[in-house]
Symmetry: C2
């Protein structure tokens, strides 16, 4: 119904996550009718980002520099490393605000069924860092899914071999959550992982 | 937190309708991590569309041609013209499937408070078409809002001056709708606009 270029734009917009045909059409109409300047800016920004953004040589997060600003920041604790699955996880932990060490981004999790092995997750680079840097602690913050747990297990084993202390972030009832609405799996885990009220006694 | 180019991309993505900071971040991460090819295609498609898509010289809908495919289609009824507010309205009416005439797109409605007058809606072009083409009927399909009604009224007056029959699409209870859930304004309109069951008698 629309002209070829508009149809093509609508199709291209559907590559965005959770954008279906109706939303894509609405976006295309909005951009072309109301805000062509913003559309140009978006086109330019996308092209630039795709061309120039790569991975940090140290932590593999997305950045257009060789070394990202977090790795480059000498004021961050150099002796703790937190392993996460995605760059968005780095942001989430940074926003939590109580971790001041460095990161390592896997860009996924071990998943033999999808052909994702240790090499795809930069495990060689991680092992090299475990071997050469004097790390006090490696914190594994992969997601609490089956694959995330398997990945955590794998990383923990590698760190133990290298003699680095490894920890896993806690999983349980979210702060402010109500027990009534928490799923059984989480609750079972929270019970199993209970901590002593008075650790000393 | 992210590198400058990624921050810029996130900001640019927020120009899309109903995309907030979280969605924009998710879209940026998705495009850069999972689908850079689709991102490149989107960038190219956006740039092309912004550069080349303009308005049809006859009906003002969005198209990269001088005359859009609907205006150019000789098999469509040449003697009826349907006036709508946006190109998306053209699509909606085409999908309804029972109108086979041509269109005229206003790209908005009369709105003195926003400085939108007849000239911005291409009224001169519409009047010229009313004067020069032998139209049997002008169907006004602007939205049933205050501004849409005012615009319809304005267009109807102009058409009457030119001696062209004008009609307004019907407004009332949607087909399949339940009276219980219809707002009072629509229901009042539906009662006022009731039609005789046996028009002949």
């Amino acid at each position: 119904m629309f002209s070829p270029l508009i149809e093509e734009l609508i199709r291209a917009l559907r590559c965005l996550p959770s954008v279906g045909p109706k939303s894509a059409q609405r976006m295309a109409m909005y951009l072309l009718e109301k805000d062509p300047e913003a559309a140009s800016l978006l086109a330019h920004s996308l092209a630039q980002a795709v061309e120039r953004v790569g991975r940090c040589q140290q932590c593999r997060t997305l950045t257009e520099e060789a070394i990202c600003s977090l790795c480059d920041n000498r004021r961050r604790e150099q002796d703790s490393l937190c392993v996460v699955e995605t760059p968005a996880d780095v942001l989430a932990i940074e926003q939590a605000g109580n971790y001041h060490g460095r990161y390592f981004v896997l860009h996924g999790h071990l998943s033999p069924i999808d052909g994702v092995g240790p090499a795809d997750l930069g495990m060689d680079l991680l092992e090299q860092r475990l071997a050469t840097e004097s790390l006090r602690e490696l914190i594994v913050a992969t997601n609490p899914t089956v694959e995330g747990e398997a990945t955590a297990q794998y990383i923990a084993e590698r760190a133990r071999v290298q003699g680095v202390a490894v920890s896993r972030i806690a999983h349980g009832v979210p702060i402010g959550g109500e027990l009534e609405y928490i799923d059984g799996g989480t609750l079972a885990h929270a019970l199993n992982s209970r901590t002593a009220f008075f650790p000393g006694s």
